[in-house]
């Protein structure tokens, strides 16, 4: 897979990509598109550039438009830059009646941004999303692969603080 280098992803991620492609028949490489885009997006600052998508197309032996069509269809792919941590607050019915609107307002106030925006330091992007399948543990949000559930204002403070301190200690 010579095209794998062009993706400029870590060795571990490349290994994952290889493993995933092997899960589908050799002539059905396109099936690996969704999982591969997930891996690549994680490796490229959380969003997909045209260049990245073109390289994925080459890797899976499909046309670039096939990748664009998919990347714009699914809500988890970002085709524009996002903050380091994307806070995705569930806003659907069961969460709403358990206080998700209040939670969004609290986050907006705390971060000083509106839904859809990114903090000036590039640390947080605030998004509302549809049902995440955590209705019994509402209100909740997802950051990266982690679900934070039964949220209160205190819990939110703690979560954001720990994300901030984890980032600063990494520098």
């Amino acid at each position: 897979m010579t095209n794998l280098q062009e993706l400029s992803i870590s060795t571990e991620a490349a290994e994952n990509v290889r493993r995933i492609i092997s899960q589908y028949p050799a002539d059905k490489k396109k099936s690996a598109l969704l999982p591969v885009l997930h891996i690549v997006q994680n490796e490229t600052e959380g969003w997909l550039t045209i260049n990245t998508m073109d390289n994925v197309a080459k890797l899976l032996e499909i046309t670039p438009i096939e990748v664009y069509e998919v990347a714009t269809f699914y809500s988890m792919y970002h085709i524009e830059p996002v903050g380091k941590h994307v806070i995705e607050v569930c806003q659907t019915g069961p969460c709403m009646i358990c206080g998700s609107e209040k939670l969004v307002h609290y986050l907006e106030k705390k971060l000083g941004i509106l839904v859809g925006q990114t903090t000036p330091d590039g640390m947080f992007t605030l998004k509302t999303v549809e049902c995440l399948g955590a209705c019994g543990y509402a209100p909740m949000f997802q950051i990266g692969e982690t679900y934070y559930e039964n949220l209160t204002e205190e819990k939110v403070d703690q979560i954001l603080d720990s994300l901030l301190s984890a980032t600063s200690s990494n520098i």
Partner: protein, 320 residues
């Protein structure tokens, strides 16, 4: 051969025939089709204008189908009974679908090159309400040129997917597609680039509305002021059978020939379409047959007699 009855008219059809094809064979009360295109594989099923009611599935299983079905994608079974114009449920549903298709469609027919040969105009004339009940802001997109010959006016698009099927099935590589989803879906190349291949012009012909138009014809004339003439040439790229659209002695545009259902009889290459716009490039066959209900026929005075004749008898005629 399976027998199907549509609005009380029965017909035996070859195995695998769809309800819509059967209706076209019967030739009357044919459901409208905005997305189905018999020459494009996988087309149909999306616009929902051709919905019909199946009151009996077949002799073997005469139960009615629980929902209205897309006639373009439902295969006839022996003994099937279908209601189209005789079903008030179908008429109501079609009215609803028409309203949905118009909800976000701009009311810019006066400046749209498709006006006069627009399938959505026909549909709304036959099935639409006189006034839109949709009071919200319509979707808006920028007009974009995809290459120097074709313009994409996404506001008008009804997402029939035909142009993507043309690109998939007629051209070496599809570079445009449907991006985003739901109401935000749009036909796009993602990054602006030209769609440049020998058969891209057919996207214009299959577009049921004015979303994809011929830039070389843009604002030159209303179609009903032009006179369609059948012509052919010996073309290495395609069959070379076209319609020339004249204004006076000038050919304003070249299109494929459309059959009774508005479909291209054969797809033509871009060389025929864009590069051969002189009468001397062509062997003229005679005036094109235009449906008498079409607005184009209103300006078709000189050819009125041949128009109602079958095509074969007009073959030796010359243009004026």
């Amino acid at each position: 051969m399976p027998k199907v009855t549509i609005d009380d008219i029965s017909l035996e059809v070859p195995l695998g025939t769809t309800i819509l094809q059967a209706a076209r064979m019967i030739g009357q009360n044919v459901p409208p089709a905005m997305c189905y295109y018999s020459k494009l594989e996988g087309s149909g099923g999306k616009c929902r204008t051709c919905l019909v009611q199946v009151v009996a599935g077949s002799y073997k299983d005469p139960r009615p189908m629980p929902k209205l079905v897309a006639s373009c994608r439902t295969t006839v079974m022996d003994g099937m009974e279908v209601r189209n114009t005789t079903s008030s449920e179908v008429q109501e549903a079609r009215k609803g679908v028409t309203e949905f298709l118009l909800a976000n469609h701009p009311l810019d027919c006066p400046v749209c090159d498709q006006a006069g040969e627009c399938k959505l105009q026909d549909l709304s004339y036959e099935h639409g309400l006189s006034k839109s009940r949709y009071e919200f802001k319509r979707r808006e997109f920028d007009r974009i040129d995809i290459g120097d010959k074709i313009q994409l006016h996404m506001n008008r698009c009804i997402l029939c997917y035909r142009c993507t099927q043309v690109a998939e099935q007629l051209t070496p590589e599809r570079v445009h597609g449907v991006l985003h989803r739901g109401e935000h879906s749009e036909i796009s190349t993602m990054i602006e680039k030209a769609i440049d291949n020998d058969f891209s012009g057919n996207m214009i012909d299959v577009c049921p509305v004015g979303a994809l138009t011929d830039k070389t014809f843009r604002f030159k004339s209303r179609v009903w002021f032009t006179k369609p003439v059948f012509a052919h040439r010996n073309c290495p790229g395609c069959e070379g059978k076209v319609t020339l659209w004249y204004q006076g002695s000038e050919v304003l545009r070249v299109t494929s020939r459309k059959d009774k259902w508005g479909e291209a009889e054969s797809f033509i290459c871009n060389s025929c379409r864009f590069d051969h716009k002189k009468t001397e490039d062509w062997v003229i066959e005679g005036p094109a047959k235009i449906d008498s209900h079409s607005v184009i026929s209103q300006n078709h005075m000189k050819f009125e007699l041949p128009v109602i004749q079958p095509l074969l008898t007009t073959e030796n005629e010359q243009t004026a």
